[in-house]
Subunit: 389 residues, 2 copies
């Protein structure tokens, strides 16, 4: 197990009706609120009205930034910063999924930066300070509600990059599983794929001694496998929605990564797809994951695939190791397919045309090598893209 | 899954050499330190000298309270409060195991209370405020390094009770597994039993929908099973010591209990043993646990024992449910025995004489019923004590 510093300061209020804490929690951190959200879904489920009534009851002035995109764009960040500055905002309340929360985090950071917010995303300038943020989650997927990271897209330059700072941890997050009852089958499936991918990015590591962390990761994976299909078939199954929601937070808040050294692989590969084609993030991850696994599997890392196959997929441990590994990859692919996820790039509108361009762009960003479980070079990335077609 | 509020604010610095953060961390919270510790073990391993040199290098004035007992007594709390008041202490640094940390937490709380600190322990008065606390852990067992609770003993009245307050979360804890290299085989085994018991107290619950939490709990149990014996046989095995240390924190910091409603059972039963006989806490837990399991197992809760047997002990799921359950209890008992723990009360010097007195004292404290997985009445408690003889 490697050394680590544990720090997860976000307070989580979990369960049906927990919005009751909203007014009191906001007042702990701020007095003038920027309310951020995406499309109209929070209005459809009555959440918008509820939030507004709480803000009004508590005499908290608020301003709105709506229409934040599924892959949130730097233009929304710029607009949010403008509203904050013009109205002396001191707290951001993000109501939505990971995109709204990510965008809000970068607004909070860019508020304290005079230049173009994109500088912060690409690392040209450093985040110094961040406005306090609270969230009300409506989609179980990115885990942004309990971590210190954000991903922003620049469609002009076809770039989608991550940014992180300890100030970006939400001060609080309200996780009410009933807010995810109306999430579509497709988005539910995509969210499950996202949670699984976050977990696998940490799980597939060459560090052998973080035994406890790997068992926790397997617990999250099993939760996704058990409840993914149930949530799709029975959208108002509280138990399924609750377990997936809590899994989304624990998959990426640090818990399963502490003591390991995982450099993520599939996420950067997918970010190129989203940056060039604006596809649904979780779907891109689901398509790429089995091909990435097949590509990297070798004698050195076979042990990890065997652990994965036996502990997560209940594959008979008496089979040959390579057979277990290959079966575990098949099971992964079959599971995503069973959720109704289109499992080829072609089905989501991506052809051969830009595969080389995307692979090159990724190599430039990654400075020649992606991930560290088995580092990928240009040819590896291109090969995975091609197999995913 | 039940509603819950997640709040684990303790920062953990984990790994060999992490004491390097000590000076900086103390200065974030205080300027005059009460250094607390137990017997001489921290001097033997050189940790005392290291701490003192860091305090001196950082020009931090410090005062000492040493000799804190394995089952920390209210007299030590009283003495600690006196030192704090006389010397304007504003930060407590606990160096040791759970006893030292628990005692320090209650000193921190009693500092702000004018009456007898025992009032706070028995709930006669409420904790209002707590001095900030930091810890350096030297024993993997109680998890006090990352939770908001403490247990204090009053040998005059033969009482050992728990007390909790959110202010009791340590601000930071330094977890360096090498500090546990010299822990004796007996104390190592006792610590493992303590971690397992904390986990089982949360795991054995009638709440069925907290699936994710139960998988996490199983991960902690598997970690104890894998590394318990290794740590005893190879005291300087870093991987074993590290996994047990992190397991001790995660078993009780809330993670596996959120969303459940477990009212602990075996701990209160053991507290009576410690209060009357001052035995090693973890040993008492190990002795009682299998007898408690046998006593409560019935058709209604059989499912939970089956889950435990199959997921934790790898018992063949094709066997008859009751057979799986009984085997899981046997496995639990055999495991404790394999760690070298004496598995009868007689072996630790407890005879029949006070069993009724202890059972009566417990019922009085528990107001007639202990635990909620299967609530225990007086006859149940006495029966478990007798079977444990």
């Amino acid at each position: 197990m490697l050394n680590f510093n544990y720090n997860i300061p976000t307070r989580v209020f979990f369960g049906e009706g927990k919005i009751e804490v909203l007014g009191k929690q906001i007042k702990k951190y701020g007095s003038r609120v920027l309310l951020t959200y995406g499309g109209g879904s929070i209005k459809k489920i009555g959440l918008y009205d509820k939030v507004i009534s709480i803000l009004k009851e508590n005499n908290i002035p608020y301003f709105e930034l709506s229409g934040i995109e599924p892959n949130p764009r730097v233009e929304s960040v710029i607009e949010g910063v403008k509203i904050c500055r013009e109205n002396n905002i001191d707290f951001i309340l993000a109501v939505g999924g990971g995109s709204t929360i990510d965008c809000s985090k970068v607004i909070g950071a860019a508020y304290y930066y005079d230049g173009n917010p994109w500088d912060l995303v690409i690392g040209k300038s450093k985040v110094e300070n961040v406005l306090p943020i609270g969230t009300i989650l409506t989609l179980s997927a990115t885990g942004s509600e309990m971590d210190a990271g954000a991903v922003i897209t620049n469609l002009e330059t076809n770039q989608k990059y991550g940014i992180g700072h300890s100030g970006m941890f939400p001060k609080f997050s309200i996780l009410d599983p009933t807010y995810t009852y109306t999430v579509s089958k497709y988005q539910t499936a995509s969210g499950v794929a996202d949670i699984i991918s976050h977990t696998l990015e940490e799980y597939f590591s060459n560090v052998k001694g973080a035994y406890l962390q790997d068992r926790l990761a397997e617990g999250i994976l099993k939760t996704c496998i058990k409840y993914g299909r149930i949530a799709i078939d029975e959208p108002t199954n509280y138990e399924a929605r609750a377990n997936l929601m809590w899994a989304s937070s624990l998959a990426i808040n640090g818990l399963i990564g502490y003591g390991k050294d995982s450099a993520w692989t599939v996420h950067p590969l997918e970010h190129e797809l989203s940056a060039y084609y604006d596809i649904t993030h979780g779907v891109g991850l689901a398509i790429l994951t089995p091909h990435w696994m097949e590509h990297v599997l070798d004698q050195d890392n076979l042990w990890k695939f065997v652990e994965y196959g036996v502990n997560v997929w209940d594959i008979d441990r008496n089979l040959d190791d390579m057979e277990i590994a290959k079966k575990s990859i098949e099971k992964t692919s079959e599971f995503f397919k069973s959720l109704g996820i289109p499992m080829t790039l072609k089905e989501v509108g991506i052809g051969e045309e830009k595969l080389e361009i995307m692979a090159k762009a990724l190599m430039e960003y990654a400075e020649g090598s992606v991930g560290n479980f088995k580092p990928l070079a240009y040819e590896d990335v291109l090969s995975i893209y091609k197999k995913s077609l």
